[in-house]
């Protein structure tokens, strides 16, 4: 079942065509990797879908609902969430609060001012659950600004994930992160996708990660799609492999 679809999406920055007639589909429940060299248009595509950019032309459909002109708020309500390439956290709040905030916002509880945030048991338990999934439960009281880089990335993904979106976009979630943390992030994301609760689209440069976790790989080059298929299909595609890796893969 198709969860998200873009129809002939175009975005141009001066001379550069970031998205040049992109027809992107995401199937429900899949783990999709979006790959390509720098400047291929991956982040622009995600920015267009998450309403950080407005398209020059084209349409975006979420479960057949046209969200091309929807605001950030409306898209999040519709079930789209994302993390950022440069880690974007609430540095003055604790790790726990960062995640709890997602949940409060999701459940419409963010406006409550007559009760203490800590006293909301459901939110507290769910926050710890999410923190546990990402291995951050021991740091729950640490201020986000005081975490190491790898932990910040983990938290960044956790915060987006805590929204329990239908469609989760992760922009280079493993860049600058140790192997152990990489595995933690990707294992968590992969398991929630398998459990059917989230569909994930991940922009990635680490090919090991891409081939190990993805159901499907989409490759972009200069604003257009170059290839689209399962890891095996991509691996067998020598042309793609040489662009991705610099040399064809041996089977």
């Amino acid at each position: 079942m198709i969860l998200l679809r873009t129809i002939d999406l175009r975005k141009q920055f001066g001379e550069t065509r970031a998205c040049d007639g992109v027809n992107f589909t995401v199937n429900k429940g899949e783990f999709l990797s979006l790959v390509g060299s720098n400047g291929a248009g991956k982040t622009s595509l995600v920015n267009l879908i998450s309403a950080q950019l407005t398209p020059d032309s084209g349409r975006i459909l979420l479960e057949d609902k046209d969200i091309t002109n929807a605001t950030v708020y409306e898209r999040i309500q519709a079930g789209i969430a994302r993390s950022f390439q440069i880690v974007n956290l609430f540095d003055g709040l604790s790790v726990f609060d960062n995640v709890a905030l997602s949940i409060f916002s999701r459940d419409g509880k963010a406006v409550k001012m007559a009760s203490l945030a800590e006293h909301d048991r459901e939110v507290r338990e769910e926050s710890f659950e999410v923190l546990g999934q990402f291995g951050l439960q021991d740091k729950s009281r640490v201020l986000a600004g005081g975490l190491a880089q790898g932990e910040r990335k983990l938290l960044d993904v956790a915060v987006a994930y805590a929204l329990r979106p239908k469609l989760l976009f992760l922009d280079e979630p493993t860049s600058g992160v140790s192997t152990r943390d990489k595995t933690q992030i990707m294992d968590t994301v992969s398991s929630v996708v398998r459990a059917g609760t989230v569909t994930a689209v991940v922009i990635e440069h680490d090919m090991d990660v891409v081939f190990r976790y993805s159901d499907r790989i989409v490759m972009m080059h200069e604003g257009r799609f170059l290839a689209d298929g399962t890891p095996d299909e991509i691996r067998a595609n020598n042309e793609v492999a040489s662009i991705l890796l610099g040399a064809p893969l041996s089977a």
């Binding site: 974007n88 003055g92 905030l101 409060f104 006293h119």
Partner: protein, 336 residues
Amino acid sequence: MRADVAQISYRPKLMLAVAAILVLIALALLPSYIGLYQTQLLTYGLIAAIAALGFNLLLGYTGLLSFGHSAFFGVGAYSVAFLLRYAEIHSMELYIALGVPIAAIASALFGYICVRHTRIFFGILTLALSQVLYSLVLSFFWVTGGTDGLRVARPTLLAGMITFTGAGSFQRFIEAYYYYVLAIFAVSVAIMWVIVHSPFGKTLQAIRDNETRARFLGVRIRRFRWLSFLISGTFTGLAGILWVPLNGLTTPEVMYWTFSGEIVFTALLGGFRNFTGPIVGGVVFTYLKTYAVASTEYWQLLLGIVLVLLVLLLPTGIVGALSAGMKKLQRKESFA
């Protein structure tokens, strides 16, 4: 492991409650030791603390620096003056019951206009709007008393049960009014503490720290900023309401932007990244200003110098510096 990590730890809150009660008791006992004049001064200090507390919801927790908070203080003060002069109301409870909603409405209106912008434009807009109000108060002098202002007689407390007339009434008024203000102060601090630690308070801090990320969590930024502005202005308005019966008079000066600057100063003095900072700042500033005004004609110069030195040397304010100092002590102890 997960189960007990998920428990709230009550101990720090208990300690906080005990500390707060001790402070409250100390404040309640003070008048018997410090005499009438000091009691009056301390009352002004508590009122300034309420104003600063309200102001700091906007600055410290939401990240918006307003240069127009004098407008809300003034709205509170003039509401009382108008209620007395035009509706012949003498009850303090009615002043609060009617004045607070008026301050809230003013804050809501101003806030609606101002929160569409941030940073310097927000600051300029708050300044401009408060100046509009100030100039209106000056212009419509037949209503507002113009530069002479309006006199306010001593109100009745506790639904008219306590009145202050006759011999010794000044002393009785000061003593009674101190406790009245102290009670309201305690309630205000409690309310603000809950607000700041509520989901709403956390969301405000998130918006302060990273507006983009907050937006991508589905938070309606403008709405939250507006709510923060509303609460902030209302608290400062309450301070104005409490102030004018004590001062006996309200003048347009209280709406002028230099008064807004004093409110900003109090938050900075105490430390605007702390909950208790503005409270300490409000009280300390009241004493500072009183002694500065008394000791030199050029107290604004003194204030300016202190402000510059504060920003240069002690940007986290009194409370910030104290807590940083305590942390250093703790660390030294743990290595000893």
